[in-house]
């Protein structure tokens, strides 16, 4: 077709109508891949050096307290005759003689205590107990706290009123009174329970340890419940809750599927920060002599035993004291990192 030089007709040629190649198509896509809540949070968490460092510390402590004891040549309750009160890396006369004879003697990295038990393995077992208490107690607190808190917030009215008054009262009674009274009360009950066939495991786990779990579960869910309640009070006003209800969802389903999943960020953070505080409380209890039963050590009881011999054997105190501070510090820092990463309110 001949083109008129004065016409405004655009000059098209057949090349303009060739199908675009895949590459060309891709260059036009301006959307990036959608980022899920988890990916987004994790990315921010990984960038946070302090949080990652504390995560590594926690993993190392866990390896030392859960895996290493299995391969360690000493056990936490074996009393080695003749090697009482050794300083770190010191050998007893008998062990020196065996070394002379060409035998390999595993060194006592942190010395031994007054009964001749290797202190390094006792520290490892102690941190195992402390971590277990921290993790299990927190798991129990998480379950009770989030269920009670969400029920209080979701149903409101007199249910909320009653639950919150209970929370207030638990806050007001000095917790040390409840802890001591409950652990006395539970001791007899649990010891009675242990004799009933089928409940032999109670003795294996240790009545003191179980009573610590129960006491924690009964006392410390209140903080978690308050936290969850305040979140859900806000969330339940959202349209999707009304929509879910209109579609015929039951209250349980709404709480489980819509409300709790939406405050998962807060739950993670509160849980991580609850772990150090449980460890803290357990060490305090062990310090008072209400913690785990001998010969099982926990970091608190190791520290409290070491105080009596502080002048002569100060290193017996420093190891558990340092370790417990380190564990609590790392969990706190990790919790802060998680909050920065997952709390939607802090996003900007």
């Amino acid at each position: 077709m001949k083109s008129n030089p004065l016409s405004f007709q655009s000059k098209l040629n057949p090349d303009d109508f060739v199908l675009a190649t895949a590459e060309e198509k891709e260059s036009l896509v301006v959307m990036r891949e959608s980022v899920s809540f988890w990916k987004d949070g994790l990315r921010r968490l990984v960038k946070n050096k302090v949080a990652m460092a504390s995560l590594i510390v926690i993993v190392i402590v866990m390896i030392f307290s859960f895996i290493v004891p299995a391969f360690y040549p000493y056990t936490y309750e074996t009393q080695i005759r003749g090697s009482e009160n050794l300083a770190p890396m010191e050998y007893s006369a008998e062990e020196l003689a065996r070394k002379e004879a060409g035998e390999d003697v595993f060194p006592h990295f942190l010395g031994t205590d007054k009964l001749g038990r290797d202190y390094a393995i006792r520290i490892m077992m102690g941190s195992r107990i402390s971590l277990l208490v921290g993790l299990i107690a927190t798991a129990i607190i998480l379950v009770i706290g989030s269920v009670v808190g969400s029920i209080a917030a979701f149903f409101g009215g007199w249910i909320d009123l009653v639950i919150m008054r209970v929370v207030d009262i638990i806050y007001t009674i000095p917790d040390i009174l409840l802890i001591v009274l409950l652990s006395f009360a539970l001791k007899d009950t649990l010891e009675g329970l242990a004799t009933i066939p089928g409940f032999g495991w109670v003795q294996v786990v240790g009545t003191n340890l179980i009573s610590i779990f129960i006491v924690f579960a009964l006392l410390y869910w209140v903080g978690m419940a308050r936290m969850v309640r305040s979140q859900i009070l806000m969330l339940k006003e959202n349209e999707y809750v009304t929509a879910a209800r209109a579609l015929g969802a039951t209250s349980g389903r709404i709480i489980k599927k819509h409300l709790l999943t939406n405050c998962i960020g807060t739950l993670i953070v509160t849980t991580t920060l609850q772990i150090p505080s449980s460890i803290f409380t357990e060490s305090f209890l062990s310090f008072l002599g209400l913690g785990v039963a001998v010969p099982l050590p926990s970091l608190g009881s190791l520290a409290s035993e070491a105080i009596n011999g502080l002048n002569t054997y100060p290193y017996l105190l420093f190891a558990p004291a340092l370790l417990i501070s380190l564990i609590i510090l790392s969990f706190n820092l990790l919790g802060d990192g998680l909050r920065d990463a997952f709390d939607p309110k802090l996003k900007n």
Partner: protein
């Protein structure tokens, strides 16, 4: 305001009453009793003792007697410490705890608030980092660790301060450091974050823009708004600290209320447990009322209902 305070006081009374009731029944539900422990006494002597203190009566009647006595200001005699009334025990032990605790609270406030502000004003600079690290570590170290480390280095190793008793100002140094360690760190943290929050507000920019000096804008505008969370924390903290920390009192052998309380629980000294619990709960509840009133004074925008 007056109406609000009266309402809160009535509610406080109800709370204390509930706590007393719960403690009473909980304490009695726990197996064991004040005269069962240590050396075995003859059943007759035990019965006589129980009759003397009214422990042989039905529980509910004991409760009614106790409450009506307590209403008249009579908290009974200690079951374990012969010839001492609960009131006299609290009257001698509480001032000791309160002195150490009071000094610790002042120390915590004097260090915590300024350091937190300094950190917030120098956000991201080395000063801020140092203060943040200090406060994070302060929160992570359990009190018994601080106590024993202080005891070892300052008391035993260097010999600067006496390790037990409470007779001169030197005796106060270590317990006060130990007691104020955690609150100081916590207040620093609270102060830093709330100060950062306030410094980012529009009214701060306005204050600077209209020509207020750094000093006035900081103290009149920023500090007053930023201090609210600290007040919330200081209320219950004061109650806890004034009544003494058991661990600190045990390690430094201070004859305070905290040690007395734990001792009474393990001994099942029922009257002392009740008296101390009511005392602690009262201080706690009143501190909360005071916090709310101070809140209102600091920030007139807050409506008390």
């Amino acid at each position: 305001m007056i109406k609000y305070i009266i309402k809160r006081l009535v509610l406080a009374f109800v709370t204390i009453f509930t706590v007393a009731t719960l403690t009473f029944f909980l304490m009695n539900m726990v197996p064991g009793g004040p005269f069962l422990s240590e050396k075995a006494i003859s059943p007759k002597a035990q019965a006589a003792l129980e009759a003397k203190y009214g422990l042989d009566k039905p529980l509910f009647q004991q409760y009614l007697t106790y409450i009506s006595d307590a209403m008249h200001g009579d908290f009974g005699d200690s079951l374990k410490q012969r010839g001492r009334t609960v009131s006299s025990i609290i009257a001698t032990k509480f001032p000791v705890s309160a002195r150490v605790g009071g000094v610790s609270i002042i120390v915590a406030l004097c260090f915590g608030i300024p350091l937190g502000c300094i950190a917030a004003l120098n956000r991201g600079k080395p000063v801020d980092n140092i203060i943040s690290v200090l406060s994070t570590c302060g929160i992570a170290v359990p009190s018994f660790v601080i106590c024993t480390v202080l005891m070892y280095f300052l008391g035993v190793h260097l010999g600067w301060f006496p390790t037990f008793g409470l007779t001169s100002w030197k005796h106060y140094v270590m317990p006060v450091i130990a007691l104020s360690f955690y609150p100081t760190a916590y207040i620093m943290r609270l102060m830093r974050s709330s100060m950062l929050d306030v410094l980012g507000q529009d009214y701060m920019r306005t204050a600077r823009a209209k020509g207020l000096s750094q000093f006035v804008s900081l103290f009149k505008h920023a500090l007053r708004n930023a201090i609210l969370p600290v007040i919330t924390y200081v209320g219950p903290m004061t109650a806890y600290t004034l009544t003494g920390s058991f661990i600190v009192e045990k390690i430094f052998t201070i004859p305070g209320l905290g040690g007395e309380f734990i001792g009474s629980i393990t001994n099942r000294d029922y009257t002392v447990i009740m008296g101390t619990t009511i005392f602690l709960a009262t201080i706690m509840v009143f501190m909360n009322v005071i916090v709310d009133i101070v809140y209102k004074l600091v920030d007139p925008r807050i409506k008390l209902k």
